[in-house]
Amino acid sequence: MTDQSPTAKLRMMKLIRAFEEALAARPDHGFQLISSGEEAVAVGLCSSLAPQDQLLTGGRSIGPAIARGVDPSRLMAELLGRSSGTNKGKGGRGHIADPASGFFGAHAVVGGNISIAAGVALALQMSGKDAVAAILFGDGAFGAGALHETLNIAASMKLPLLFVCNNNQLSVSTPRSLALAPARLSDIGIAFGIPSQTVDGMDLDAVSAAISSALAHVRAKKGPAFVECISYRFASHSTTARETRSREELAEIRALCPIVKQSRKLKEAGALSEAAELELGRSVAGAVEAALKFADASAMPREEEALQDVI
Amino acid sequence: MLYKISVPQVADVEEIRVLEWHREAGEAVEKGDLLVELETHKAIVEVRAGQKGFLRKILAESGNWQAIGLPLAVLSESESDPVPEDAQALTDLPVDFEIT
């Protein structure tokens, strides 16, 4: 995101919401992980990253990819399997990659991208470039050995790596309290001497502030930092996963919408008018429509492409 | 009496490279003198004379290779015993070796 004004950030959250809703509404949406409700985490994180930084994520990649600046049209094409997509249609949501935009890539193995991100950080460190790597993962990955091994290595090698745990408190059907011993996931930093904090992931400004301060530590070559964002996802884990929460619970969760919160905040501060917000909505709808149009006009890969780029 | 100095039976070793001779042909050696350093794939082996005598002929020079059990040099008790062509038939000189 080059424009980090509050309005631009709000627009970005709205874009993510609208994009994912449009995708989920299609009959050919495929297997998707939607991040509705978690937009403040994606935008709060990405608006603090510099162009030369690299972001890696797990499988809930669409929101972060959009926030990082991946072209929504090429992203939609990839999600719908078109060869004009970011990955030539071969990766899909689980593996979206656009390193030229600083989105090094998603990886669909839970926790599987964490040590990879440390490797990217090592390469950045050895290049002498003033760039950092950031790895976004969920509470579902927090129990994985890969995280703990990588925290140790990153701290020991003082890698320029920002760990961002999007704790939406549910791993498919399993609440955090049943799966993970620590109640406060950022406490893991204490074990490895990594500065860590926990913030409200439904509050864009809180996320932005936490990420900024964490990044300052990392950019000063002091080693890794850890930010835990407490959030809620509005939808079930995936487009095939059953919802486990009651209607009442979901209604309470939706009342915490980060977009509504940010919009209200800006309006109360006199920084956003009704008209301006309507315009944002129109702009976002236009971008989503353009993305769908681009994808629908694109071809699926030819069969021969199945054997291309293997080795 | 003539003896041959053979590559010691170091465990897990097939052949060695001769690193450095610490005595020359013609020199007198005492029991315990460091004769030669050998290199195995793992470590360096110091070969020391198990009794006194005269180092008469070096069969494997520095940088050369030799298999375990095969001769490296000929040693004799007296200075002037004629040295045979084929050292393999000679008795092995007792040696002490140390792996460093």
Partner: protein
């Protein structure tokens, strides 16, 4: 044949050939670095990295904690981001811990990103049984042959340890380089000229006429011993050192079996879905039915117990016995 001056060679230990390849490539390319346990001042468990820490420093020869999954991931990720790491896994048994980053990410990276990224990482590991017990003895290279996107090479001599490692460090995708515990005491001649050995190239190390024995890694030495035994029975065995498992050099193998008519595959790993299973199948696809036998370890974990380990591993005697059975006009035999 016109007389050519013999290529200048230098005899060196297996580990020295590895260190030499590393040194040359690291001097040539500043992006190459080593990640592993005890690779720095210690020089590697087999001294295969001797002198590299002194020459290239702690930034390029890094001692890592025991955490194979993350270590392989760091190597793969660093490769994806522009470095050329060599990740050293002391025992092949523990490569399994790194399968997720190597196979699910590294081997699939070029494909899954539509060609945007690739991971030029070398995972170097030591296989084989040598008295260290059930979890420190395995040869599992056959498991890796079928992974699309992964190359697998298996030097059996110091010359190939040197030449294949140079090629590995110049490859544009992930390579698994497997040597063997019992190869380290071996010394052999290595060309003085700095020349790499290409992948997908097998070597006939003993020409013969009556049967073809294909093998790789330490078992090539066992195959050559067996060939000497068979010579006494008047049987001439052609021994092929595969050197490269993925890709396999089918041309050399098919040409050989086309001449000899019989194929015996030998490996230290298991024959079930082993290297031999693949070699035999592909040869039959090319030549039609041929007489064949596969020899490998017994289907049991390899104990550190001296007696049991020896009972499980192929030796020249077992190989020669299987080869003699192949010559008999009676039924095809698939032996252990």
């Amino acid at each position: 044949m016109s007389s050519k001056p013999a290529a200048a060679v230098q005899k060196m230990f297996f580990r020295e050939a590895i260190a030499r390849a590393m040194r040359e490539e690291m001097r040539d390319n500043p992006n190459i670095l080593i990640l592993g346990q005890d690779v720095g001042r210690f020089g590697g468990s087999y001294r295969e990295f001797d002198g590299l820490f002194e020459e290239f420093g702690a930034d390029r020869v890094r001692d890592m904690p025991v955490a194979e999954a993350a270590m392989v991931g760091v190597g793969v990720g660093a490769a994806a981001a522009g470095l050329r790491p060599l990740v050293s896994i002391t025992y092949m048994d523990f490569m399994m811990l790194g399968f997720d980053p190597l196979i699910n990410y590294g081997a699939k990276l070029r494909y899954k990103t539509g060609g945007q990224l690739t991971a030029p990482v070398v995972v170097k590991t030591t296989a084989g049984a040598k008295g260290q017990g059930v979890a420190h003895s395995q040869c599992i290279e056959a498991w890796l042959m079928s992974v699309p996107g992964l190359r697998v090479v298996v030097p059996a001599t110091p010359a190939d340890a040197y030449g294949l490692l140079k090629t590995a460090l110049r490859s544009d995708g992930p390579v698994v380089y497997v040597d063997h515990k019992r190869l380290f005491p071996v010394a052999g001649e290595v060309p003085i000229e700095e020349v790499a050995v290409p992948f997908g190239s097998a070597r006939i190390c003993r020409p013969g006429t009556d049967l073809t024995i294909t093998s790789h890694s330490f078992m090539v030495r066992t195959a050559l011993e067996a060939a000497k035994l068979l010579e006494k029975d008047g049987l001439s065995a052609e021994v092929i050192d595969l050197r490269s498992l993925a890709p396999l050099d089918m041309k050399t193998i098919v040409d050989s079996v086309g001449r000899t008519g019989r194929l015996l595959t030998l490996e230290e790993g298991q024959i079930t879905t082993g290297v031999g299973a693949e070699v035999v199948t592909r040869v039959i696809e090319h030549l039609g039915p041929i007489r064949f036998a596969r020899v490998g370890a017994l289907p049991a974990p390899i104990s550190s117990n001296r007696v049991l380990e020896a009972a499980c591993l192929p030796d020249a005697g077992r190989v020669a016995a299987a080869a003699r059975l192949l010559q008999s006009p009676k039924k095809l035999v698939s032996s252990c």
